[in-house]
């Protein structure tokens, strides 16, 4: 991991710790067994998370062959360890230069890989930190505009006052 990434990662994690420490009573109730491990990464500078159990690994993204008239979110295919991987890019174009991108390989028959500018690491969340966006939609109707509709995530958690969506891979495959 590059140094710059490490720094960003640290500040990101500190932010998370802050919320965590901010609610000590919640901590008592939750048994460690219920923790959810998520992989943290950034797309277009924005933080996202994905359940670790639905990933297969992270690799540097090789050259992508674009698909003709692909569905939204899909940019093309790349060969990862001899397997053709369908590359998804949720950044809508505002991404890192090509050679710096990482590809998060997802489990499943869809052979999907998710482009990320940067992968921060794995974080353990308590079930209470994970919130459903069903409620979010009601609080912040205005936010559910063009962009957020695209995100295949139902759950999120809060970090530094920001909502970090937890991407649901079963929905990704339905693009």
């Amino acid at each position: 991991m590059a140094k710059g990434n490490k720094k960003a990662m640290t500040s990101f994690l500190e932010g998370l710790k802050a919320i965590h420490l901010g609610s000590p009573d919640a901590e008592k109730e939750e048994a460690a067994v219920n923790h959810v491990s998520v992989l943290l990464f950034r797309i277009g500078g924005e933080p996202y998370a994905i359940g670790v159990e639905s990933t297969e690994g992270v690799v540097d993204c090789p050259r992508i062959s674009p698909l003709p008239s692909p569905p939204d979110g899909i940019v093309g295919v790349a060969s990862i360890r001899g397997k053709i991987t369908v590359v998804m890019d949720l950044s809508l174009g505002s991404a890192q230069p090509e050679d710096r991108r990482r590809l998060i390989l997802l489990r499943g028959d869809a052979q999907l890989g998710l482009l990320a500018d940067r992968v921060e690491g794995v974080l353990s969340l308590t079930p209470r930190q994970v919130r459903s966006s069903g409620t979010r939609r009601q609080d912040a109707q205005s936010e559910a505009s063009a962009g957020s509709e695209l995100w295949p995530s139902q759950n999120y958690f809060k970090s530094e006052g920001r909502e970090v969506p937890i991407i649901d891979t079963s929905r990704l495959a339905e693009v």
């Binding site: 003709p68 008239s69 692909p70 053709i84 028959d109």
Partner: protein
């Protein structure tokens, strides 16, 4: 009884092949001369029956196995010349051959025909009986040598056979009597024997009583074309006596008369036997029909034929789409309402789906089970273990797992390779295992299982396991591992797939020189699969090869657009040619080209793929000139050699002609690359949603070329317009 259907059908198709060649060979046996049949033919028949025996044994078909076994015994006698190949025997062999076919067929239907089985055994026994009679016949010949009763009893069957062979060859028989003392016995005896053998055949040696207790006497039976005086000369240095035995020319004439008489008697008795055999073997009708019918209900079809059919089904599906969109336009033009258009679309969609299903079912025809490969692998493992002085038991599971025929063929070598490693490097020798308190007998498991759309083939052993620190050290020493980076054990294990890797300094004869696992991984990657390894020190290792269960290999032409390459099935290319820029008429999206005296539309592949607008076909345009650069096209079936290519390459545009419905369409690319066989890899479960693309192929340098489907690309474009 065979319960497993897939296994049964495989058994049937393999035994059918054997039976076919057996019956054909038995037929040509009938045309052979009695006395001097083609030994290669007999050997081949022997081997076929032997394979059939093994195969039936493997399937637990006891009747077929034991009949084949008895047949094999008789054939062995035939090979040794103990049975002659007369017309009767040939007929019986042919009948037993079709009997085997009937039994295999019966086993396939689950109705073993026991009476038939017994009858065939009787037939074989009658041949064996005759051979005993025959042996008695040669007793008569041996009589003519005038040996003592005691000596005759000492003759073994093979010696009797040698006697009759030499008699037939007209050689002379001698008894050479010698006496040696104990001290010089070995050298003298050997000296005499080799002397005799240099000019004839020493058939056997009898012991002889001597008056002197210090001497040991022998009588050697010797057959040779040499005259008595010559033999005496040979034996002289050894102080032996020589006596000629057997027929004088006068006795030979008498013998000849006897032989004629015997032959006539034999003929009579064999005619009688033939009549008996006919009476007792009226075939049950079902059986008689059976021998005419093929044993299994399967037919053999070339894979390429299946591929052609599935390709055709695919085209039909696309054509249906095309037709439906056209019909839709007509309906609108004719003023039909939404209801009619909906109905039309519905039934067109249904038709398309059915064609696609047809395609899928045809692709499934390529699937075979792992049974055969696994059986061979298990056998090979047993043999390897023996060779290496190790004791193992092999367990196999998932034989019924289905895989594309081509993958099964290509995965065999990797499986054997990993198996060899497991036995050679994984499983410890029995004494080491005992010390480690393990069962001295190692265990190897070979499994196949499904994992989504992939098949995972695993080879596991309970051997010493792979030591990550040894692997790491070794990898560092060959420069295959980063020194400063910390690796997880999992990643360290993957280093064994690096070229030139081998943890053992000892180079084993079996596993080669550590050129292996990288080759294994490459082979599996080529199939679109991956190799995984896990290991626990002291407990064993597990290698998994995950491969797609289906794949399609096509002959494709690679073209370039910009810096991207695309593969196109040559079946979709009618012709490749270079069009001069001046030949391209019209502007922008509406270009035409003259092809076979008519104007056909010319579309740029770049545009079809949504990669940007049309080029300007102007000779002065530098980018275009560069894109068409120096050209070196490879031949494609119907390629027309472009005239004056070398001179004005930059002025010419590579164009491929394809068909869209009834019309030809020219598609302009930026460079022709080459034609090659490619394995089309699946794009996963989302694949069908990516229009105009049927898969992808790995190219050198980690690049990927999409395999285009020109008809659907053209269709998408026509729908867009």
């Amino acid at each position: 009884m065979i319960d497993d259907k897939a296994l049964l059908s495989e058994y049937l198709s393999e035994s059918e092949e054997l039976l076919e060649s057996l019956l054909a060979d038995l037929d040509s046996l009938g045309a052979q001369p009695d006395h001097d049949p083609d030994i290669n033919l007999i050997n081949r028949i022997f081997r076929t029956v032997h394979s059939l025996k093994g195969l039936s044994g493997m399937m637990g078909l006891v009747e077929v196995q034991s009949l084949a076994h008895e047949f094999e015994d008789i054939l062995e006698e035939l090979r040794l010349g103990q049975i002659s190949l007369d017309r009767d025997n040939t007929a019986i062999f042919q009948e037993v051959g079709s009997g085997l076919a009937a039994l295999v067929g019966g086993a396939a239907r689950g109705s073993a025909a026991y009476e038939d089985y017994d009858r065939f055994r009787e037939l074989l026994a009658s041949v064996a009986g005759k051979s005993r009679a025959r042996a008695r016949g040669s007793e008569n010949e041996i009589d003519s040598l005038g040996l003592s009763a005691q000596e005759r009893d000492q003759l073994r069957e093979d010696e009797k056979y040698r006697i009759s062979v030499n008699l037939k060859a007209g050689r002379l028989f001698y008894l050479v009597s010698v006496q040696f003392d104990l001290e010089s016995l070995t050298t003298k005896y050997n000296g005499l024997a080799s002397k005799l053998e240099s000019s004839g055949e020493r058939i056997t040696t009898f012991s002889e009583k001597t008056k002197e207790p210090a001497l040991i006497g022998f009588r050697l039976l010797f057959a040779t074309p040499l005259k008595e005086s010559e033999v005496k000369k040979l034996v002289e240095p050894f102080g032996g006596r020589v006596s000629r035995i057997g027929r004088s020319p006068w006795r030979r004439a008498g013998e000849a008369l006897k032989v004629v008489g015997r032959k006539q008697r034999a003929k009579q008795s064999s005619e009688k036997r033939g009549a008996e055999a006919k009476a007792s073997t009226v075939l049950p009708t079902s059986f008689a029909q059976e021998s005419l019918h093929p044993v299994s209900s399967s037919v053999r079809v070339e894979l390429s034929q299946v591929d052609e059919l599935s390709g055709l089904a695919h085209e039909l599906a696309i054509e249906t789409q095309h037709l439906s969109s056209m019909a839709d336009r007509f309906l609108i033009a004719a003023g039909f309402g939404a209801r009619e258009r909906f109905d039309l679309r519905l039934s067109a969609r249904r038709l398309e789906r059915e064609f696609l299903e047809l395609e899928e079912r045809l692709v499934e025809l390529r699937m075979v089970s792992m049974a055969q490969t696994f059986t061979r692998a298990a056998r090979l493992a047993g043999r390897l273990a023996r060779d290496l002085g190790k004791s193992i038991s092999v367990e196999v599971s998932g034989r019924e797992t289905q895989l594309d025929k081509m993958i099964v063929d290509r995965i065999a070598d990797p499986i054997y390779h990993i198996l060899r490693n497991a036995i050679d490097h994984g499983v410890e020798p029995p004494d080491v295992r005992k010390k480690a308190r393990k069962n001295p007998r190692g265990k190897i498991r070979i499994e196949a299982s499904l994992e989504g759309s992939r098949v995972v083939i695993a080879v596991c052993d309970d051997g010493r396991g792979i030591n990550p620190s040894e692997v790491y050290d070794r990898a560092v020493s060959i420069g295959a591992a980063p020194v400063d980076e910390e690796l997880k054990d999992e990643d360290v294990l993957r280093l064994i797939f690096r070229p030139g890797f081998s943890t053992l300094d000892r180079i084993s004869e079996v596993s080669g020189r550590g050129v292996g696992l990288d080759a294994v991984e490459r082979a599996i990657h080529e199939l679109g699969g991956e190799v995984r390894v896990s290991s626990e020190l002291g407990k064993g290792s597990r290698f998994e090869m995950a491969v797609p269960s289906t794949l399609v290999m096509i002959s494709a032409f690679i073209v370039r657009v910009g810096d991207l390459r695309y593969a196109i099935n040559v079946g979709q290319i009618k012709e490749l040619l270079y069009a001069g820029r001046e030949e391209i008429m019209g502007r922008d999206g509406k270009r035409n080209i003259e092809y076979r005296d008519s104007k056909i539309p010319l579309i740029e592949l770049r545009y079809l793929l949504g990669l940007g607008g049309a080029r300007v076909f102007d000779p002065t345009d530098e980018a275009a000139a560069r894109a068409t650069g120096p050209l070196s096209p490879s031949p494609v079936g119907r390629q027309r050699e472009p005239a004056g290519l070398a001179g004005s390459a930059a002025n010419r545009v590579p164009v491929l002609i394809t068909r869209s419905g009834e019309r030809h369409v020219a598609i302009a690319v930026e460079q022709f690359d080459e034609q090659r066989e490619i394995i089309v890899k699946s794009l996963g479960s989302l694949g069908p949603r990516f229009k105009g693309v049927v898969g992808a192929v790995d190219l050198e340098g980690g690049d990927v070329a999409l395999v285009l489907d020109l008809p659907s690309l053209l269709l998408i474009r026509s729908l867009r317009m």
